[in-house]
Subunit: 456 residues, 2 copies
Amino acid sequence: MVILKDKNNMLVDTIRRFLRRDAISHLSKIINNTHAADLSIVFRSFSIYQQLKLFNLILDIEQKADTFSELEEKDLLDLIAHIKDEDVVKILKYMPADDTTDLISKLPEERSNKLLESMNFKESEEVEELLSYGTDTAGGIMIPDYIALREDITAKEAIEALQNDYSEVEMPFYLYVSDEFEKLVGVCSLRQLVVVSPYTQLKKIMSTDIFSVRTDTDQEEVAKIVARYDILAVPVVDENNKLVGIVTVDDVIDIFRKEATEDILKMAGVGEEFVETQTILRSTKTRLPWLFASCLGGILAFFVIGQFEDTIAKYAYLAAFMPVILGMGGNIGTQSSTIVVRGIATGRINSHEIWKVVIKELTIGVILGCIYGLLIAIVANVRFYDQQFAGYLALAVGLAVLSSMSIAALVGSFVPMLFEKLHIDPAIATGPFVTTSIDIVSVFFYFSIASILLGI
Amino acid sequence: MVILKDKNNMLVDTIRRFLRRDAISHLSKIINNTHAADLSIVFRSFSIYQQLKLFNLILDIEQKADTFSELEEKDLLDLIAHIKDEDVVKILKYMPADDTTDLISKLPEERSNKLLESMNFKESEEVEELLSYGTDTAGGIMIPDYIALREDITAKEAIEALQNDYSEVEMPFYLYVSDEFEKLVGVCSLRQLVVVSPYTQLKKIMSTDIFSVRTDTDQEEVAKIVARYDILAVPVVDENNKLVGIVTVDDVIDIFRKEATEDILKMAGVGEEFVETQTILRSTKTRLPWLFASCLGGILAFFVIGQFEDTIAKYAYLAAFMPVILGMGGNIGTQSSTIVVRGIATGRINSHEIWKVVIKELTIGVILGCIYGLLIAIVANVRFYDQQFAGYLALAVGLAVLSSMSIAALVGSFVPMLFEKLHIDPAIATGPFVTTSIDIVSVFFYFSIASILLGI
């Protein structure tokens, strides 16, 4: 059994050895026997000049195009910067239209214009049409690679069309059926064609119960439809219900993985895009502003605590409980917001039920607050058992933990629900903002309660 | 354009209205015209007795089976508890073997035994075989629904087999080809069959470049293979390379979504499974132990700070800087660990490069620590400009921020990398554990530096 990770590490080691020995024929053999998807990962371990050397060893131009398709955006842009326009155009011919469009949209304008001019008319027209849709919409990710036939043709004619006109369609799972006005009216599977009598018309065998999306449908919605109904491709139609493309299941997998990564990164306050493969400077820049929110909040907390200087001067150990109070609030707040954000993303939580969700989280916060408040109060009482203020101190600490955890659960669940209602991405509600505001409220409550109970 | 969420909300409202009026014929019409995937979501908004009423309105037994397949585990178990054994067995007949197996494995033993006994021999044998594999392996998620033909038969014979023997296979994307010893030797697509001459043998057209997994391959690895090579199904073979099942792309989507959710929940310290749809008690129980780690850490921090009681009594405002120091450390620690954990999960970070990654994160921690250390030191200096200790205090606070952020970046990146090396799930390295240990180290450094600089 081969594990992908080990396979890639072995490949990298072997290629590195051959590169050192400049064993071109061995390298060529390896490169031309490796799947483009693996090449794209292996490339990351080499310098751009080594990558170019390896890339030039690829003999089959389709393999070159596949490698282009598989490379991560940044890696591809680096590589392409070192390849001549005419060679790029030759390779783009073999790339799916959606990938070409993606690439063209990311290149510097001057270069993308040059490339578009050098393409043949049909190709550049296709790309320019796809470019006109938003990147994150069905129009932006669809491919024009589909089979569309008229409802009055027969199964036999359909099979002939498949063999002749559509021999280049890569994944012919579904045959879409249109009426005389080119409107999408049904779908049938390839299998149905071979099972029925050859002279049956498509309209007799097609299913009219068809899921389609519009060119402006958000890609996340497209992905959800494909996943919910377990289909292999969803047809994309324009405002006249005319078929203009399809989105296939392999793109849907990519969308889900990308969205999950984006959500996770946003929740931790590290921007949206994966920056780890990028430079230290770029990574620092992305993380700086999110930390600024936390810094501002911390400074605010400093001024809040400053109001209680006298209390702290008199009872210094009050300060020692701050980390546990902030920590408990922060952690339960993260729990609540994570559950809500992920619940919304996966459809388990309905944003209409805002109060139901918030009250549930608050209840959990209060229960857990009572448990941990009591526990920490006991610790405080035991530690200062010989002091006369021990009881009040324990009470103050316990109440502070309770209020901090309850407020954290409330804020942590309410803010993302509110953001969802306001059509702001709820994932950004979890990062430093929520934690920091919980910090401020928590210390204020803590010292207020302590000041009153200890009579200052 | 219909948005899935709105569509479901509308459905729920309509059904609720009809239920109130007890308008059975309307309800029946709606239920029988709704896709099972939508029904499974709509059901969540109704009580178990309403669900039963709706479920019994489904006329087509295949639709009942599909609804079983689509329901979330907990919802399905609740519903099934109210359905008679004989009815369940009838429905299971129409459910894919992997879903049936899943269900049987989750039911109380007594009931699952009874159901297995009432099934016919072939079905129960299939289920028992699937049960023998680990739930999270290829064997546990595969379906026996595939087409396997011998390499010496012709395209024409293959099409005939498709029409007769395999007419029940649901998604016949690929035809797997085996040799005389039943070993998997190749694959060809349905399309190839209709394109070649009818008397071509399968071995002439099949591709021998085939990705397969073993029954004990981890499901995450299976999902990665399907995603990496953009295939619609991957064949599962036993130790003798004999084909025993396939895993299809729709299951792969579910695996990725589930794994992403699990990772997110683990990172926030809320267990692994989604508990939001469950009771308050259950949710509280899941979250309790994770918070306990944070509580213990906080109490430890309390004792650490207790050592510096004299310092705090003398300079009470030192305490006021604690939230900002802890907050900055906690936030950058979360950033680092999130980047590493997600990087490992998506294959962007290679666990072999442990020092490269940790040194990079540490560098970023030091840079950001210098920036924010300086900023917060300036605030401290401005606030206490009229006091003679202002300079030292500012220096102490600045150094504390720098050390806290550097240590947090170091620990936040090192721990998940280490866990990955030790084959422990790196996602659990991010929750309360890392944050809390960073807290303890941070306060210790802070008060130590302050005590030295302020000369106590």
